[in-house]
């Protein structure tokens, strides 16, 4: 595994270059913000008709991560579906593909702001998961410790390249968005600077995981936006 290894509250974790988080001791693979069905949702609302291929592209990458790590449990950290109707409308072939990935392992859905409800796919549905010594929830709670979350789609820039990234400090890790059709929020945004401590690092994803000090706003904005 050519990931970046780190420890959070005593748990040994690896930030994989794909954007997934691997907890070897629990054989748990966590991914966040898949936003499956985004193209369907936009079209349904009378917006543009994006190439309807993000579900298969995202599932193909998830399948590759599962094949490489052979997890006992997969945890989807919220915003797995772009909305609940998009989940219902998932084309049959892609719904079957997802079911196939779920077979033979525990599957945990944490609910996100885009998909606040149970899924029709089986598995366990939770608002958050406490799996000592860690807590998994979609949106980071200020002041929380030993927390794994998603939601913000953090990204950071190094050497002219902007990439989705993990943000890691002593108290928490924020996962990058795993879905194909996802944008990012720069790590120097006030919301992220307020959550992460001064020694936070960013682990850029891509072909390999590259760790750098978390890029921050050089000048502190006067008022910080509250996290959504």
């Amino acid at each position: 595994m050519n990931g970046f290894d780190f420890t959070l509250n005593g748990a040994d974790l690896a930030a994989l270059p794909s954007g997934a988080l691997w907890w070897a001791a629990e054989r748990l693979l966590a991914v966040s913000d898949l936003h499956l069905g985004k193209s369907e949702r936009l079209a349904r609302r009378g917006g543009t008709m994006l190439p309807p291929y993000e579900v298969r592209d995202t599932l193909a990458r998830l399948e590759a991560d599962i094949a490489a790590t052979r997890p006992a449990a997969v945890l989807c950290l919220g915003d797995t579906f772009d909305d609940l109707t998009a989940m219902e409308n998932l084309p049959e072939q892609e719904a079957l593909w997802l079911t196939r990935l779920m077979a033979g392992r525990r599957w945990i859905w944490i609910e996100g702001n885009h998909d606040p409800g149970p899924t029709s796919f089986g598995g366990t549905h939770l608002a958050e998961l406490r799996l000592p010594p860690l807590t998994f929830r979609h949106i980071a709670a200020p002041g929380a410790a030993a927390e794994v979350s998603g939601h913000y789609h953090p990204k950071a820039r190094l050497g002219g390249l902007s990439r989705p990234c993990f943000l890691i400090d002593a108290a928490r890790v924020i996962l990058p968005a795993y879905g194909t059709y996802t944008g990012g929020l720069r790590s120097d945004d006030a919301a992220l600077c307020a959550l992460m401590d001064d020694r936070a690092i960013a682990v850029l994803t891509g072909k390999a995981a590259h760790a750098i000090p978390m890029p921050r706003a050089q000048i502190r904005p006067r008022a910080s936006t509250s996290p959504r």
Binding site: L50, E54, R157, A177, G183, L185, A217, Q218, I219, P221
Partner: protein, 800 residues
């Protein structure tokens, strides 16, 4: 009828004027379905276009809209409204004239829709918006004439294609609609006529007296120009002397960044503090308007500018045009020269300032071409299909349509006359379903067919289609403001990619002043004037123009002269030395020099294919050299040559230029290229696949919006034959990639390659070593470099 109607004759006479022959001619033939007037600046072109309308409105009791005037510039529409008011009022005509642009108030626009004026002055985008309303047939009922001003400029961009599709719609709504085009001097009037007329209607072409030949020369400077680089700063003393000697001078530059640097240097040397301004497209509107107003008031002695001043507005008493840097294109040069001296029948005065030694040759070639009235230009390509996709959506927003009827209508636009039904259907399918091969949107189509007619599935989509109207796609720009408690003065805009490279304390030039980057706040770049030291240069998007084929051919022909009496001695000696040491490039052969320099093996390829094509050639050749194990390290390209450096020398260049292998490599390279992604983005925005970034929307949707690169990569992976990718490819080939000119070059030389192995750098290659814009070749090393950078950043922060 070759005489003016009495009221008009009296008006001309009262002013001591007589009508120009072309003004009478246009009035005499006013019933022709299409007329194209080619006239130099100052020839009373606009009045000529309006005379038939004034005539008809004077003698008629026309109600509703009679004439639509389209200009590429909002400011021009407002300008024309003021200028028309004089003759209308003085002749006592009761004609309502109004303009309608993006700046027109909401209430005014609503009133115009309910009760249109006799003459409406507008822009292509505002017209397209009007046509997207359901009541378009009522708004345009009774329309008789449409005047397209500066049609030569519109014809060079997709705005012109959109306009002509709109006119095809108007001609259906208003049978018998007559079209008039007003154009500056162009190389192929017949092509503009085909572009303007409703196909297959005929189009009259009227030529105004072109006036006397311009008084144009190369600026004499004390010092010879430098060997390489741009900007022309060496010529500042001579240019200031010219500014002093003239009333008002326009100083044109080819790029915004060069204009900024030049203006800064000019200001430092301006000991007499002559009032000099700067004007280019990246400056804020307030800044530009201030300069424009000062120009009109005659308060400025000179303006440093770019193409943003190429069009339209009458700037008053400009008596000298200075072009800094090689003009690259003769037609544009002639049109720029026309900006000087708006008095008809007085020669325009212009000076060329070559920025470097090679540009001396190019300037002399351009002077010859101007004197020979030999203008250049590429044939107009067929109408772009992304614009057609948008037009289909606009049509649907206005109401249900029949596909066959719409196809018949759009093929009356000259640029789309050759469009096949299959191509049209592919665009319609894209607009309706997205046009995807592997999965169809059946339930959520954007357009649906009911009773044989296509219509919007969700009427809410009309609003989004209207928000997306237009064919100008800006790269992501960030506003630059002076930092203070009240929000600060806007200075202009920079590209987001440039802003991302800045760290607080960095300095750059904008609006002629050096500013210090302080930080980014809510998508605004905040700066202060606390700047010292030399500026980092703002990289504006100003595309680099490539030297035209015609001009390149003239340069190559000049190389074959025995001696060069027309060139300054320093340049003639340089060419003679090149002839002694190596040879001068020829049109039907390809010269490749190889020589060692500073421990690297260099190859110089004189393709004369223009900067964009030479750049592509550099990418392709280094790719082939990499395969051949020659370890290329980088290259640099200019309009005439590509210089490549490598660890191992090229001993036989011929196989590198194998056309088939090069085409193969090209296809692979093209798919992953950044230029393709940029081209894709603008085609996708125009065609309606991506919504435009609307200010304000962006902030709230920052996680929701994702890069268009992702869509491009997804399509390449899953749907490689999708319409958007086909359009992207065609656009990229003729634009920034310009592979067409490489193909043309390979065809021309037919394998005749002259390889000159030399012991050292040749005189012609030497300036290339000073060129900026070197492209390093990154093979598999990119990730490794990234890893090294990451490790050192962690180490520096004590976090390893």
């Amino acid at each position: 009828m070759n005489e003016l109607p009495p009221a008009f004759a009296a008006w001309f006479a009262a002013r001591g004027w007589s009508a120009h022959p072309h003004q009478k001619a246009i009035l005499a033939r006013r019933m022709a379905p299409a007329q194209l007037l080619i006239a130099p600046t100052g020839g009373g072109k606009t009045l000529a276009g309006f005379l038939p309308s004034l005539h008809e409105l004077a003698s008629d009791t026309h109600s509703g809209l009679h004439t639509l005037y389209i200009s590429p510039l909002k400011a021009l529409a407002a300008d024309i409204r003021r200028n028309l008011r004089a003759p209308v009022e003085e002749m006592g005509l009761h004609i309502r004239i109004e303009d309608r642009t993006g700046d027109t108030s909401h209430s005014q626009r609503r009133r115009q829709r309910a009760d249109p004026p006799h003459i409406l002055l507008t822009t292509p985008e505002s017209l397209a918006l009007l046509l997207s309303y359901e009541d378009a047939p009522r708004i345009f009922a009774g329309l008789q004439r449409v005047i397209v001003d500066e049609i030569h400029a519109l014809a060079e961009s997709k705005r012109g294609d959109q306009l002509m599709l709109c006119l095809s719609r108007l001609s259906t709504l208003c049978p018998g609609l007559r079209r008039v085009g007003l154009s500056a001097t162009v190389e192929d009037p017949a092509a503009i006529a085909r572009f303007l007329a409703r196909h297959p209607d005929p189009c009259d072409i009227l030529h105004a007296d072109p006036g006397p030949d311009p008084d144009i020369a190369m600026l004499e400077t004390g010092a010879p120009p430098p060997w390489a680089g741009g900007g022309g700063r060496y010529a500042i003393p001579a240019i200031l002397a010219q500014v002093k000697r003239h009333k008002t001078t326009l100083i044109f530059h080819n790029t915004r960044a060069q204009a900024e640097l030049f203006f800064h240097a000019l200001w430092l040397a301006n000991e007499d503090t002559l009032p000099i301004g700067i004007h280019h497209g990246s400056l804020s509107r307030e800044q530009r308007e201030r300069v424009e107003a000062a120009m009109v008031a005659g308060e400025l002695r000179a303006v440093v500018c770019t193409g943003s001043l190429d069009l339209g507005i009458d700037w008053g008493d400009v008596d000298l045009v200075i072009q800094v840097g090689a003009p690259k294109n003769v037609k544009r040069l002639v049109q720029r020269i026309g900006r000087a001296n708006h008095r008809y029948n007085a020669p325009s005065k212009a000076l060329l300032v070559p920025a470097n030694r090679f540009e001396v040759v190019e300037c002399v070639a351009a002077l010859q071409a101007v004197r020979a009235h030999d203008l250049d230009g590429d044939p107009r390509p067929p109408g772009p299909r992304d614009v057609l996709c948008q037009h289909i959506l606009i049509t649907a927003a206005a109401g249900p349509f029949d596909a066959g009827a719409l196809f018949a209508e759009v093929t009356t636009a000259g640029a789309y006359a050759g469009l096949s039904r299959a191509e049209f259907d592919a665009c319609l399918d894209f607009a309706a379903t997205g046009g995807y091969a592997l999965r169809r949107y059946d339930r959520w189509q954007r357009l649906q067919q009911t009773g044989g007619k296509w219509h919007l599935r969700d009427p809410r989509a009309a609003r989004q289609i209207r928000m997306n109207i237009g064919t100008i796609v800006d790269t992501d720009l960030l506003k630059v403001r002076l930092k203070n408690s009240r929000g600060g003065t806007p200075l202009g805009e920079v590209e987001e990619a440039f802003a991302a490279t800045l760290t607080p304390g960095d300095t750059f030039l904008i609006g002629g002043q050096i500013v210090r980057y302080e930080g980014l706040r809510e998508m605004t770049v905040e700066v202060t004037r606390r700047a010292s030291g030399s500026p980092k240069i703002a990289v504006f998007s100003g595309s680099k123009f490539a030297t035209s084929t015609q001009l390149s051919d003239r340069i190559l022909a000049m190389f074959q002269q025995e001696r060069w009496p027309g060139l300054p001695a320093h340049t003639a000696e340089w060419l003679a030395l090149q002839r002694d040491v190596s040879q001068l490039p020829r049109r039907d052969r390809l010269l490749v020099e190889t020589f060692p320099h500073e421990g690297r093996a260099h190859s110089c390829i004189y393709g004369f294919a223009g900067r964009n094509a030479q750049q592509t050639l550099g990418l392709l050749l280094t790719q082939r050299m990499e395969q051949a194990g020659l370890h290329p390290l980088g290259f640099v390209a200019t309009d005439y040559a590509t210089l490549i450096w490598a660890l191992d020398p090229v001993t036989d260049p011929a196989p590198l230029f194998d056309a088939a292998a090069m085409r193969d490599g090209f296809e692979t390279w093209l798919a992953g290229n950044a230029v393709m992604k940029r081209t894709f983005r603008s085609a996708a925005v125009i065609a309606g696949l991506i919504e435009r970034n609307v200010p304000g929307q962006r902030k709230s949707g920052r996680q929701a919006t994702f890069s268009s690169d992702i869509l491009y990569d997804t399509l390449v992976k899953y749907d490689p034959h999708h319409l958007m990718l086909r359009i992207t490819r065609e656009e990229a080939l003729k634009g920034l990639v310009d592979f067409g000119r490489i193909e043309a070059m390979l065809e021309r030389i037919e394998g005749r390659i002259d390889h000159m192995p030399l012991p050292r750098v040749s005189p012609l290659a030497a300036p290339l070593f000073q060129e900026v814009g070197r492209v390093p070749i990154k093979g598999a090393g990119a990730e490794r470099l990234l890893a090294q950078a990451a490790a050192s950043a962690m180490a520096a922060a004590g976090l390893s």
